[in-house]
Assembly symmetry: C3
């Protein structure tokens, strides 16, 4: 590892490509990104998360990654599709107007706010969400809402999948105000430009 690092530094010296060893986020991930002469802006690292799942624990994992990525000064986009849309519904602006019967029923049986999201695993007898939340409070871990608000404040980009909205009968105005409605191709475009893409 050290040898490897040393080799990289030598190589960098030879071709006048000197990565800053203190810049963890850039450390030999894409050395060519560090080539910019003084005064030029380096391209930011980028992460795109396809948030497909609507479970409490997966949402927690995704939001921890998103918050951490922003703290590392990465560009972070979350693309909410299918059940993932439940994370970005605005509890204050849900509506039953102009919906088909199925859409109304669907809207009523689904979670109203992110703290109502179910866990992804029902097969651990005795482990309820309340239990997990209680444990988190014991350890001073902020709940899901705190992570969601953190991501919003830190400037994580929120995209809502157009097709999923239509399939589920949600209206754009029912989502959090920062959610932009986008298509699958927009996700792919963001993902192509990202060093990290995850389907969660």
């Amino acid at each position: 590892m050290d040898n490897h690092q040393e080799t990289l530094s030598k190589q960098a010296a030879v071709i006048e490509l000197k990565p800053n060893p203190k810049d963890l986020a850039d450390k030999d991930a894409h050395p060519e990104r560090n080539v910019a002469p003084a005064g030029q802006t380096l391209k930011k690292k980028k992460m795109t998360l396809l948030m497909f799942s609507g479970e409490y624990d997966k949402a927690l994992a995704a939001l921890i990654l998103a918050n951490s990525g922003r703290e590392m000064d990465m560009d972070v986009t979350m693309f909410f599709a299918f059940w993932g849309l439940f994370l970005v519904r605005n509890p204050e602006s849900m509506s039953l107007e102009d919906k088909t019967l199925y859409e109304k029923m669907f809207g009523m049986v689904t979670p109203k706010g992110i703290e109502d999201l179910p866990l992804s695993r029902m097969n651990l007898a005795g482990l309820g969400k309340a239990m997990l939340k209680e444990m988190m409070e014991d350890d001073n871990t902020p709940p899901l809402t705190a992570f969601l608000n953190g991501a919003r404040k830190k400037g994580v980009k929120f995209y809502g999948c157009k097709l999923s909205l239509e399939v589920m009968g949600f209206k754009p105005e029912e989502l959090l105000p920062e959610v932009e409605v986008k298509e699958a191709k927009d996700f792919l475009q963001e993902a192509l430009e990202s060093e990290i893409q995850l389907f969660i």
Copy 2:
């Protein structure tokens, strides 16, 4: 397809390594890709999906991504493993011959066609697949079969995981004719060459 490649090459030659800012798909994702000297073909962007899950909704998400990727002229490979193999079983060529008792039982309790795939979440009381499908028809969204056939027509590469076939007791001839049987290392090789890799 070839025309697109040609256009890209010509563009690269004319502008001498100046990316076209209008070409979103190439925009600074991997700038070094645009370095190809005049006359050389630019490498296509590539996406590899590891389709592990066998649920209706995840299959829908994966196939929408695969179709969209091909429409953006990306190379797309889907590697079907474990439950994902259910997506590419050929309903017309399933066989019970030469199988152990367990394999026969397994073959019988599992879905026969992709429209029989279960949803990934059982914990949303009142939301059945029929309901979701009905909503999709309301919105003129084509069902899973349409997306699968779309992917086949558009030239998405289909790989079936060799080990999974053996574990599940499926025979290669029980899969759709375009499925090539491949190993985990083949998936990794494809993924290494891809800008986007997702485990679904």
Copy 3:
């Protein structure tokens, strides 16, 4: 961006960037990696798996990928978070000391060893884990433990998520000895440096 492009072109010109067409694993995935002058070490390909799930079948898929990656001489890191931590608990060193009541209950209802992990899909009537394991033995496929030990012997790096440990009330000494406790940002750093990242 244009400046950055220009810099890259110059660099390519200076060092006469010649990718080796025979090196499949390096084949135009990241051509800049082949820039190293003779005698210098090429950077190894790298894969980082975020092991979030605790199911038997997903663990199997992840460990097959990890083992295969090492056999292809890739650097492989597995970051175990949430339910994924169950894969790397040391059955011989679990403790109930210094735990809250919730943590004790949680510890008792959760799987004790990896062969106790549940399957990810409960909705396939008639398919039990025993059945799947039996089929695997029929085909001489080694069980999960064998793949886990393989990964340990082959030098897959094991990280345990610090926050998950705290939330679940596990202590570092309850994990396998090779597990290093790390934070979400360490995962992101590894992922940034990796050609392949998957959320499993």
